[in-house]
């Protein structure tokens, strides 16, 4: 077992780090403050292929593996968690399901412009009444001749308004089982921005990842071509769950990046900050805290990379993804909270990045499956 990265992955990491430092870091504070989507950075990421890292070259991607993609999200999130989630949602939640379940025509039509970054992708499952209980969703789709007609709304959608392509999960039929219980059958659809009857609701004002475009999507007799059904009719729920398994690895990488970014700043700051005549890094309290954080961060990295490797080599990787996301998200929250404490009053001030990092970290314990959901997935597999 070898835990070191090979040369190409090392080089990819240095690329992502250099890009993040030069391009994303200088804008991070402004993106947070103004709640503006970092379009300038996304355009640069398009140019250098960051929007289609794990996508085969034949579909316009970079032909790299999930680990490379994960390192990209990690390095971006170290300096700007908003930029990290833009790439994660686009790649894992929109490109990946089309690549996995799409027809050749759908891949040609949608994956190519998404992977090249010409278009941005999003994924819409959550509804006001259906979060963790995704089965509670109400959005419906009915086939009418050559078109599906969608009605309903989706909320908290990442890349909400900036996206061009959306994966939307909707009920296509309700059946009864042997005992007469009603069961909703979901299907997945590819919806283009600008489809008739598709509009945007409110923009959410958030605690963290404030530059991320989070919107409500509204479908009022929204008509999309029949061919935009993704995968078999009635298989929307397993498609959504499998998509989220991949998405969780991306979010785990985002959380890992946030934790690493906060820890790096803590190391710099505690060496500089003097109290009682010496740097606070010379106080054992600080040293022990740094040691605990570094250990935890590395453990998170191992789980995240392991999950990425599992995605590359296994058909099913739900448990690996759940463990990685659970641990990395809770690490991000714990580490950023501790780092703010080490910074003291300065940690609470917006001028210092760690305050933003603490706010950004919280969402990683919530979206793409809360920490509680991850525990359900992990224990479910254990007790099977």
């Amino acid at each position: 077992m070898d835990f070191s990265l090979d040369k190409k992955h090392e080089m990819a990491r240095s690329l992502f780090r250099e890009f993040a430092e030069n391009e994303a870091k200088p804008l991070a504070q402004e993106v947070d403050e103004t709640e503006e989507f970092p379009m300038e950075t996304v355009k640069k990421m398009q140019k250098y292929g960051f929007m289609g890292i794990p996508v085969p070259k034949e579909y316009g991607g970079q032909g790299c593996d999930p680990l490379t993609y994960v390192m990209c999200v990690e390095e971006l999130s170290k300096v700007c968690a908003t930029t990290g989630v833009v790439v994660s949602a686009h790649t894992s939640l929109c490109i990946d399901p089309i690549l996995t379940y799409g027809t050749e025509e759908q891949k040609q039509k949608y994956v190519k412009p998404l992977a090249s970054g010409e278009k941005i992708g999003a994924f819409a499952l959550t509804e006001p009444g259906a979060g963790t209980d995704a089965q509670g969703a109400q959005t419906k789709a009915v086939l009418d001749g050559d078109e599906w007609i969608l009605n309903g709304s989706k909320c908290f959608i990442t890349n909400g308004k900036v996206a061009d392509v959306y994966i939307v999960i909707a009920i296509t039929s309700v059946t009864e089982d042997k005992r007469g219980r009603k069961k909703k059958n979901f299907s997945a659809f590819i919806v283009d921005k600008g489809a008739p009857g598709f509009s945007f609701g409110t923009k959410e004002k958030k605690m963290g990842i404030r530059g991320s475009s989070t919107y409500e999507l509204i479908f009022e007799d929204c008509r999309i071509p029949k061919d935009n059904l993704l995968g078999p009719e009635g298989k929307g729920f397993p498609i959504a769950m499998h998509t989220l398994d991949g998405g969780r690895i991306g979010i785990a990488a985002q959380a890992l990046g946030i934790a690493e970014g906060a820890l790096e700043r803590a190391v710099e700051y505690t060496k500089e900050r003097k109290q009682f005549g010496r740097s606070i890094a010379q106080q054992q309290n600080t040293q022990f805290k740094l040691a605990d954080m570094a250990t935890r961060v590395e453990a998170a990295q191992m789980l995240v990379y392991k999950a990425a490797m599992a995605k590359a080599t296994q058909k099913v990787y739900s448990v690996e993804a759940a463990k990685a996301k659970l641990f990395a998200a809770e690490t991000a929250m714990a580490v950023t909270t501790e780092v703010v404490q080490l910074f003291g009053g300065y940690g609470y001030i917006r001028e210092y990045d760690v305050e933003r990092m603490m706010r950004d970290a919280k969402i990683t314990e919530i979206y793409e499956g809360t920490s509680e959901v991850q525990r359900m997935v992990i224990s479910g597999a254990l007790l099977k």
Partner: protein, 260 residues
């Protein structure tokens, strides 16, 4: 058009500098980067490739580890990489280095050779012009802009307060300044391709028309007497006085330190 770009792997000044007992740099122990002027030269070649179409070959001389800068160049868009490495070539000064590189380039077809102005570890700015001399080529140094005009290049040669616009017939050699451009990033897919590609490795036996007496440490007329990391000076002393008092203060200090 065929372009050869010469690049050097140099210590990353952000990391520490380490020396061998003989005063030469311990390159194996240091963090490294592609020399900034060379990277600008590579970018210039890649822009010519984008605009006019060209085959870009990147050449470096160094330890086997210098293979990394070639992979980086390929990940940025270069077509081929050649590593010239051999124990007998070690410890070379600018003369032995340019002799070696010219010997390697003699095996290649080229219209244009681009090198960086100088490397951040040696700062001599000699190797580029020396290669041109060995190969009998015109050289335009300190390029801040490069254009192709038929079978010639039109280059702006930078001075402190002005530039000269020079035209030279190809084949010729240009040395590039880091101010020439903003080098592009690699792409992730480019990196994966670069590690699948074969990098050509040449040793002493592959050098054309060179004499052993001009190679390696033995063939180097320059010897390093002593080398050290930059000694950090203290913050100094700052005093605010009017002119007369200041002169008196300075004179006192000079006498105290036996400067006068």
């Amino acid at each position: 058009m065929k372009i050869v770009v010469c690049v050097k792997q140099v210590p990353d000044t952000k990391g520490g500098v380490k020396f061998n007992p003989d005063g030469t740099l311990d390159r194996a122990a240091m963090l490294t980067i592609m020399n900034p002027d060379d990277k600008a030269g590579l970018e210039a070649a890649l822009r010519l490739k984008d605009e006019y179409g060209a085959e870009v070959t990147v050449l470096t001389m160094g330890l086997p580890k210098a293979d990394e800068v070639l992979r980086e160049a390929i990940a940025m868009g270069a077509d081929h990489g050649i590593l010239v490495t051999d124990r007998v070539l070690g410890g070379a000064d600018t003369w032995a280095t340019s002799t070696t590189i010219a010997g390697a380039i003699r095996n290649l077809e080229y219209d244009l050779i681009i090198t960086g102005r100088q490397a951040i570890d040696g700062d001599t700015a000699q190797v580029g012009p020396q290669i041109a001399e060995h190969l009998g080529l015109p050289v335009i140094s300190y390029a801040q802009d490069i254009k192709i005009d038929g079978d010639s290049v039109i280059v702006q040669r930078q001075y402190e307060d002005r530039y000269h616009e020079l035209k030279a017939k190809m084949p010729c050699l240009i040395t590039a300044l880091s101010e020439l451009n903003e080098p592009r990033y690699m792409t992730p897919g480019g990196i994966f391709d670069a590690y699948e590609k074969e990098v050509t490795v040449w040793g002493r036996a592959d050098l054309k028309d060179v004499d052993d007496s001009n190679l390696g440490l033995k063939g180097s007329p320059t010897k390093i007497a002593k080398a050290s990391d930059k000694v950090r000076k203290g913050a100094g002393e700052k005093v605010t006085l009017d002119a007369e008092e200041a002169v008196a203060y300075l004179m006192g200090k000079f006498k105290e330190k036996h400067v006068i």
